[in-house]
């Protein structure tokens, strides 16, 4: 089979999320590539939640509307998603909850009854139906066991038993072969960001929960002991970023994570970080706004906000990774850049990237190492804001002998003491801004800041950023288009971008927003797009949907 998709759905609280991880892992172990799209409303129990687990022989990072199998834990799932099925009757359902009309079709499993017989709690319905799925896909039961052990360590024996009951009650509907491909780890974008930050030397992660970035907090809190991290959840986002700046003042690499509303509260300190030249990495997980908006859905609406947030003028490093490998790579690079140039970095993520599940191929990640910032040569007097050619002053830290480390939110002299003199102000403003030139050169020379995929000879380009990377590549390859994805968005890698678009007759921009934010950004640099394919209902593009919209404009 070339590719294969499963949709599993039910109410929030049914463990749909967990189920999709289990199914993903299972199919992953068969050698397929995996991508999981999660769709859930902002509530804890009830409502309608579903995941689409897509597998393919090729690398993928997008979902399709059409699926091969639907697993329905409730009636709503079947009603809503039945017509996604490629073949009419390929669905599995809880026969006690779901009434199938017209003709007997699909495969019903009496979950409640089976659970009762095993004295298992309701919450194990999902394990039971996954057992049934394993048989339905023509797989052996034993491959599920190990996956369950990894995913549900609690009450594993009962879970296995329950899954086996489902398996036994089921029958083969379709045959999935395992293929001879090495299985890669599965990571969410948020996990990849977290690991990338650790790779970059993270010592303290501070965050106030906010979808879609909270999983970074949860994950880092869980693995804090393994890496000797300080993970803190204080009173508010204002407290968050100021604590992080306290850590970085002490020479401890810190990062924070939030979404738009929380980022708003951090903007004052973003500006402070720039003035005081305190390195900081901010994960900004985008979701539809304005305001509270749709907390559990996705958007790409904060590009210009990130570019311009905070009073005054200063340099910032902004990246928008497009999948797990890039999330890992650029999170590490962000940390390095923040410390090398003593500037804030912003990792622009979104719900689709952060909570989507991707294969992670570390061998495809470029060379990476934690870099040491420029340190003071220990010759007193120490000047925290020493004027230098590239604007970067060597660092010393508290407890260093003979160094008095003074940072300041006011305009200040080289020692960090407040000044209001016009000449001193001018020089310090120039010092701050001078870094940009060196940063841009650094990026341009040492990094692939703009990626190119698809048909490189095509005269038509698909321009995308962030989580639209995967779908754009897939469709670019399918439709014979060149795909251009700038990963570094500030300072904008103009030269690389120029190379990427040179020779194109037509540029089609794909974004999850209503105004075309990347299109506007490149306009400042003298580039124009011909078409914009925008989506702003909070959901990610499906392959079919975007393909159709591309074809429409290509007509």
């Amino acid at each position: 089979m070339q590719e294969f998709s499963i949709l599993i759905g039910g109410k929030a609280g049914f463990g749909i999320d967990k189920s999709s991880s289990i199914i993903g892992r299972l199919l992953n172990r068969l050698g397929y590539h995996i991508y999981i799209y999660r769709d859930y409303p902002s509530l804890i129990r009830g409502g309608h939640t579903f995941s689409i687990i897509r597998t393919s022989r090729n690398r993928i990072a997008a979902h399709t509307d059409k699926v091969d199998l639907v697993i329905a834990l409730n009636q709503e799932t079947l009603n809503l998603h039945k017509n996604r099925l490629k073949q009419e009757c390929l669905f599995l359902f809880d026969s006690e909850q779901v009434k199938v009309d017209v003709k007997t079709c699909g495969l019903g499993i009496p979950l409640g009854k089976l659970l009762k017989e095993e004295n298992a709690p309701d919450i194990m319905k999902n394990t039971c139906i996954i057992g049934a799925m394993v048989k339905a896909l023509g797989l052996e039961f034993n491959i599920l066991e190990d996956v369950l052990k990894k995913e549900i360590p609690k009450e594993i024996d009962l879970n296995i038993k329950v899954a086996k009951r489902g398996f036994d009650e089921s029958k083969e509907l379709i045959k999935i072969d395992s293929i001879a491909q090495k299985s890669l780890p599965l990571l969410s974008g948020n996990q990849a960001i977290a690991l990338g930050l650790i790779k970059g030397g993270l010592k303290a992660y501070i965050s106030y929960p906010m979808t879609p970035s909270s999983p970074v907090l949860h994950y880092l809190a869980e693995i804090a002991d393994d890496f000797s991290l300080d993970v803190l959840h204080p009173e508010s986002e204002i407290g968050v970023i100021l604590m992080a700046l306290g850590y970085s003042y002490m020479g401890k690499k810190s990062a924070v994570g939030t979404s738009g509303g929380g980022f708003c509260l951090m903007t004052e300190s973003l500006s402070f970080a720039a003035m005081a030249e305190l390195p900081i990495v901010i994960i900004l997980g985008q979701r539809p706004g304005p305001s509270t908006g749709l907390p559990t859905y996705s958007a790409q609406t904060e590009l210009h906000f990130a570019l311009n947030a905070g009073q005054g003028e200063f340099v910032r490093f902004i990246v928008a990774p497009g999948d797990a490998e890039e999330a890992y790579y650029w999170s590490c690079v962000s940390m390095n850049m923040s410390w090398k140039y003593q500037i804030p970095s912003i990792i622009l993520s979104d719900k689709n990237l952060g909570e989507g599940i991707f294969n992670f191929d570390i061998s495809a990640v470029g060379e990476l190492k934690e870099e040491t910032p420029i340190l003071w040569d220990r010759k007193p007097p120490y000047k925290r804001y020493l004027f230098t050619e590239n604007g970067v002053s060597p660092l010393a830290f508290v407890t260093d002998k003979d160094a008095i480390v003074k940072v300041n939110s006011y305009e200040h002299d080289e020692l960090g003491i407040t000044t209001e003199e016009p000449k001193a102000t001018m020089l310090m403003q120039e010092k701050l801004l001078r870094k940009e030139k060196f940063l841009l050169k650094d990026i341009d020379e040492h990094f692939k800041a703009v990626n190119v995929y698809g048909d490189k000879n095509s005269k038509t380009g698909l321009l995308c950023w962030g989580s639209n990377k995967g779908i754009s590549i897939e469709l670019g390859e399918k439709l014979g288009l060149k795909v251009i994805q700038p990963v570094v968005l500030n300072p904008f890698p103009v030269r690389q971008f120029q190379n990427a678009v040179s020779g194109l007759k037509r540029l089609i921009c794909v974004e999850n927003n209503a105004t075309g934010q990347l299109a506007k950004l490149i306009k400042v640099h003298g580039f124009n797009v011909n078409e914009m394919l925008l989506k702003y209902d909070g959901r990610e593009f499906s392959i079919e949907e975007l393909e159709e919209r591309i074809k429409e404009v290509l007509k």
């Binding site: 892992r25 992953n28 172990r29 990894k150 299985s183 890669l184 780890p185 599965l186 990571l187 996990q191 690991l195 650790i198 790779k199 010592k203 303290a204 501070i206 693995i223 002991d225 393994d226 890496f227 000797s228 300080d230 803190l232 204080p234 009173e235 204002i238 407290g239 968050v240 100021l242 604590m243 700046l245 306290g246 850590y247 003042y249 002490m250 020479g251 401890k252 810190s254 004052e268 300190s269 402070f272 005081a276 992670f360 570390i362 508290v398 407890t399 260093d400 002998k401 003979d402 160094a403 008095i404 480390v405 003074k406 940072v407 300041n408 939110s409 006011y410 960090g416 003491i417 407040t418």
Partner: protein
């Protein structure tokens, strides 16, 4: 121990007669004392907000973090957590920490994290030219309240006590000896300490005589008795005409946040990459 130079070459821009000078002198003398008792000055960090009070860090030749308005506490907490051996002293104003940033004070007290907050409580926004603050008396005529402020002040020590602070004291800017004693005790207290300094602002809220008539120093007082402390703290409510007690009002030994937080802390893994590799393997 070498003689130390605690001053900087910066020109002091406080008004002549400002109560901040007393705070500056007191803290310099306490730092000198602590230094002579063995505290390396490179292990001290001063944090300040924005306001007249905050300029103090420009005048002391010690590590400092000149923060933004209302945000003295969170960096102070982080600095402590990043290196618990560091002595962190925050200087803040009544506008700064009782107004704009009160939430941080409450949470630091709740956590009982070992930092010292010195509040230059002049009961006015000095640097922005004289508006009422959370501790200005009812009816205070400031530039934002020309008809007089319409709110009672709160009692910051009462709020701090309710929030879990384990060291609370009050001094005034015209009693420098007491200030020195209190500052030292506050800095040495293990846990969250706050000193409310009734600092006279000669320009916008000169309460020198008002205080002179009411203040008295605590004698024969057991600061570890919660009930006594609670009553003493509420004796003067920053609005009425009661006597004003000075000294250490409350003191309690409690586990600190950093003790709890850093207790289980492991040392950094030698091979971080190996750990990451393991995690990846478990994700297949």
């Amino acid at each position: 121990m070498n003689p130390i130079k605690l001053g900087t070459d910066t020109q002091n821009t406080w008004c002549p007669g400002c109560g901040n000078f007393a705070i500056l002198n007191a803290i310099k003398s306490v730092l000198t004392e602590l230094h002579s008792e063995g505290l390396p000055l490179e292990d001290v960090v001063l944090v300040s907000g924005i306001g007249c009070h905050a300029k103090i860090v420009d005048y002391i030749n010690v590590n400092s973090f000149y923060s933004i308005h209302g945000r003295v506490v969170p960096p102070a907490e982080a600095i402590k957590l990043a290196n618990p051996k560091v002595k962190v002293i925050g200087f803040s104003g009544d506008g700064d920490s009782y107004g704009e940033g009160i939430e941080h004070l409450i949470f630091a007290a709740k956590r009982n994290i070992d930092i010292t907050m010195i509040i230059h409580n002049n009961r006015v926004y000095g640097l922005t030219t004289g508006q009422y603050t959370p501790t200005s008396p009812l009816g205070f005529r400031g530039r934002s309240t020309p008809r007089g402020s319409m709110e009672l002040p709160f009692n910051p020590l009462e709020v701090m006590l309710a929030s879990g602070a384990t060291f609370l004291a009050r001094g005034t800017s015209h009693g420098i000896d007491l200030l020195k004693r209190i500052f030292k005790e506050a800095i040495l207290h293990k846990g969250f300490s706050l000193v409310d300094v009734l600092q006279v602002c000669v320009t916008y809220s000169n309460l020198y005589e008002y205080y002179e008539r009411r203040i008295y120093e605590l004698k024969d007082y057991n600061a570890t008795d919660y009930n006594q402390a609670s009553n003493k703290i509420r004796e003067w409510n920053y609005n009425n005409d009661a006597s004003i007690a000075l000294g250490v009002l409350y003191k309690k030994e409690m586990p600190t946040f950093e003790d709890r937080f850093l207790a289980g802390k492991t040392t950094e893994p030698k091979d971080k990459d190996l750990k990451i590799k393991q995690i990846l393997e478990e994700s297949i």
